[in-house]
């Protein structure tokens, strides 16, 4: 069995804009931050073009950032000309036709939307999540240690490689490790037992997928190298279609050592920057981003009350605060319960001795399309399996 490939892509260093791959479905209009903006491409009066060039305005972004009176002052054009200029630039940037929600519902719209999901590899968990993980946006899995976060991430890295009609994306995944080394042995075990976990997929399809070849592992120790990875390496892999899933395990570890107690503003800025980069990558390439986060204890009652975000009785808060929470599409919390069950399938028996495996719980803290609910699951040798009907 081949080992999972470490990331060794020799990408050429890109220009300051990063890789300008085409957003799937976006119009191929003029690049609005290109310094050598060709105003002739727009439908404008030559005297307007001359005035704009003379006023040293180089991009469409600048035109829209200036108000009507400001533009008039800079270019000495009339009010009507300036309004027409604004409208023309706006049309060049937002040239898509009008889409209704019904067209999105029927899958007829020209740009990718949040219709599809990435399967978790287990039908019970997929039911909890309304089909699986949404393809665009950052999903966070937060929980205490040994709750099963890494296991869920590895299972997703395998499930993304299945064909689309079995809930995958027919593509690979990048696994960014920030603290421990990647659990390679466990990955090999999971790969070996995939046919048993995914009994819904025909055996010949499962056996034909070279799972290990499509998982790229990156070890990142600090903020700087994470930045490099996000801005240089990931866009290359994504634009070549080699990956359709990014896992960051974990994002909290990156920020634990670098920022002290007084650097909260710098930390917030850094978090916002990474969140924005991940968000843009995710939407540009329709690839889910899974970030693993850790929990911290609530310091005081008021701290808890302010930040608890409607969670249940445990007095723990996700790390990284409000800045990070604002970037997320969906937050899942995983935890261990006190119950042990025998790992028999499909339903287990509740027992009090330690012979079985610990029952764990996955809870939806927030998601735009799901109510707050939870589901129990266990971790067995073939992976993560949801358990329905167990009373906790």
């Amino acid at each position: 069995m081949t080992r999972a490939r470490a990331l060794a892509v020799n990408g050429r260093s890109q220009a300051a804009g990063g890789v300008r791959g085409l957003r799937p479905g976006a119009g191929t209009g003029p690049d609005r931050t290109d310094p050598a903006m060709d105003w002739g491409q727009l439908d404008l009066n030559p005297k307007v073009v001359a005035a704009v060039r003379k006023a040293n305005i180089h991009s469409m972004k600048e035109i829209l950032s200036l108000s009507g009176p400001d533009l008039q002052r800079l270019t000495k054009l009339s009010n009507r000309d300036v309004q027409y200029l604004h409208k023309t630039v706006a049309v060049a940037i937002k040239s898509d036709s009008v889409v209704t929600a019904l067209q999105i519902y029927n899958g007829q719209c020209p740009f990718p939307t949040q219709n599809q999901r990435l399967s978790m590899g287990c039908p019970v968990l997929d039911l909890l999540l309304g089909g699986g993980i949404p393809l665009m946006g950052i999903t966070e899995i937060v929980g205490e240690s040994s709750a099963g976060k890494t296991q869920i991430c590895m299972q997703l890295c395998l499930s993304v490689q299945f064909p689309c009609n079995y809930g995958g994306q027919e593509s690979g995944a990048v696994y960014i490790c920030t603290e421990d080394t990647f659990p390679n042995k466990r990955l090999q075990q999971l790969i070996a037992f995939q046919p048993m976990l995914r009994a819904d997929v025909p055996a010949d399809i499962v056996n034909n997928i070279k799972f290990a070849n499509n998982i790229f592992i990156e070890h990142v120790a600090d903020v700087e190298s994470f930045n490099h990875c996000l801005s240089k390496r990931l866009p290359i892999l994504l634009s070549r279609g080699l990956i359709r899933l990014v896992v960051v395990d974990s994002i909290a570890a990156l920020f634990r050592c670098e920022f002290g107690a007084t650097d909260s503003i710098a930390k917030a800025k850094c978090l916002q920057k990474f969140g924005a980069m991940l968000h843009h990558l995710s939407h540009r390439f329709s690839s889910p981003i899974i970030c693993v986060n850790q929990v911290a204890d609530a310091v005081s009652d008021s701290h808890w009350a302010q930040n608890q975000l409607g969670m249940s009785e445990r007095r723990v808060l996700p790390a990284l605060g409000l800045t990070w929470s604002n970037q997320l599409l969906m937050r899942l919390m995983v935890s261990r319960t006190h119950i042990c069950i025998e790992s028999k399938l499909p339903d287990g028996k509740v027992c009090s001795s330690n012979t079985g495996t610990v029952l764990r719980r996955m809870e939806i803290i927030f998601a735009p399309h799901l109510p707050q609910s939870f589901c129990n699951y266990i971790i067995s040798k073939e992976g993560v399996r949801g358990m329905k009907g167990t009373e906790v």
Binding site: R23, Q306, H369
Partner: protein, 399 residues
């Protein structure tokens, strides 16, 4: 008016042509349209327009004449404005408590902002509103269409379909239990696909696209006259990253706010924006407040702040421009600090400094506080930037 054409500041050549064709006074000219005038006199269209503009502007004076092609000032009284506002209607949410606190629903031609921590329900409320704007008029809605501008990518159409289904079911129940013919007719066309087909969706990936969309939205609303609500979810997200220059951000937000206000008024749409929360570090503790800065707080007419209270979402209604916060349930005990003057046996006038109730809610209304003795006890009415009423423990009155 019988003013002579010679008294207007017209170019001499034009004036000569007009007089040669028999136009002597202002009235002769203003009764014609630009195309007719240009044909009669033999001048170009632009020149005819110029003539008409000069003549009308000068001669209108105190009267407001609604002439073709010239936007003149419409004067109206406050009573007319009030009646217009009442006639406009608002977007009901099918939740009577929320409608009550909003004064009937989300008002049209105003900007409403929804703020809250992640996961509290801002996107849900926005989705509810774009569906509710389409409720037929016989059920108390506006029967309009909706525009949804998504900057975060949290518009998941399956959820919208669920909300639409609930609204359809609700209307069906109302129609079946009542005997109204119009309702039963309207409910036949009110289905999930009709609702979804009337939500226009725009996706903006960054603030440049959002600014571009705002420029194009005016024309879109002029074409689709039935749109009654525009939701931008969220306005904070694109402006909070990739924008290091805060003064540029303030400038862009102000410009955007002006465009939205103008659009709301001109096209009679309700504009709903969702905002994020940010932490503000005070001396002793930190508190949550709406993002995008203090000056942005002046833009919305109404600001809704959603917070978690235990496991339930709690709605705090705050009008913009001042600091008062009013809790949803009237307080049962309040203590007041201030300057007391007795004005009579049953009216006490306070100059309010601070009012505390419930142990931890502070309301600082810099205004008058009238305390009246009613049959059941003392009630207070505070007149300040807002108006609030509650009951007061008489112990608090002793100064």
């Amino acid at each position: 008016m019988q003013r002579d054409l010679g008294s207007f500041p017209l170019p001499p050549a034009l004036r000569a042509k007009l007089i040669a064709c028999g136009f002597q006074s202002a009235e002769d000219v203003t009764s014609m349209r630009a195309t007719e005038l240009s044909k009669e006199v033999g001048i170009s269209n632009e020149e005819a327009l110029e003539v008409l503009q000069i003549v009308r502007r000068k001669s209108s004076g105190e009267e407001s004449q609604l002439s073709v092609g010239l936007p003149s000032f419409r004067k109206c009284t406050a009573l007319e404005l009030l009646e217009e506002e009442h006639a406009q209607g608002s977007i009901i949410t099918f939740s009577s408590a929320l409608d009550e606190i909003l004064g009937g629903g989300v008002s049209v031609a105003k900007i409403t902002e929804i703020c809250g921590a992640p996961g509290v329900g801002k996107t849900q409320l926005s989705i509810q509103l774009v569906v509710d704007a389409q409720i037929p008029e016989c059920f108390g809605g506006l029967g309009g269409e909706s525009v949804y501008i998504d900057t975060e990518g949290s518009f998941i159409v399956d959820r919208v379909a669920e909300v639409a289904q609930a609204a359809v079911r609700h209307c069906h129940l109302i129609a079946e239990s009542g005997r109204d013919e119009a309702q039963q007719e309207a409910v036949k066309e009110f289905s999930i696909s009709s609702i979804l087909s009337r939500i226009y969706y725009f996706r903006c990936h960054d603030y440049v696209e959002l600014l571009a969309q705002a420029h194009l939205l005016g024309d879109f609303l002029a074409e689709h006259r039935k749109v009654r609500i525009v939701v931008i979810d969220s306005i904070a997200f694109p402006f909070r990253h990739h924008l290091e220059d805060l003064s540029l951000r303030t400038r862009l937000l102000n410009g955007l706010a002006q465009q939205l206000i103008a659009m709301a008024n001109e096209h009679r749409v309700a504009v709903v924006l969702t905002n994020q929360m940010t932490t503000r570090f005070g001396e002793a503790q930190s508190s949550l407040m709406p993002a995008l800065g203090e000056s942005w707080g002046h833009t919305p007419t109404t600001r809704l702040i959603l917070r978690w209270e235990g496991k339930l979402s709690h709605l705090v209604f705050a009008t913009s421009n001042h600091q008062s916060r009013l809790q949803l349930h009237p307080p049962t005990h309040a203590s007041v600090r201030g300057q007391m003057t007795r004005m009579g046996d049953d009216v006490v006038h306070w100059t309010l400094i601070q009012m505390v109730w419930g142990g931890n809610q502070t309301w600082q209304a810099r205004g008058l506080l009238w305390i009246h003795y009613q049959a059941r006890g003392w009630i207070w009415i505070a007149v300040g930037p807002g108006l609030a009423v509650g009951s007061v423990n008489p112990v608090g009155l002793e100064n």
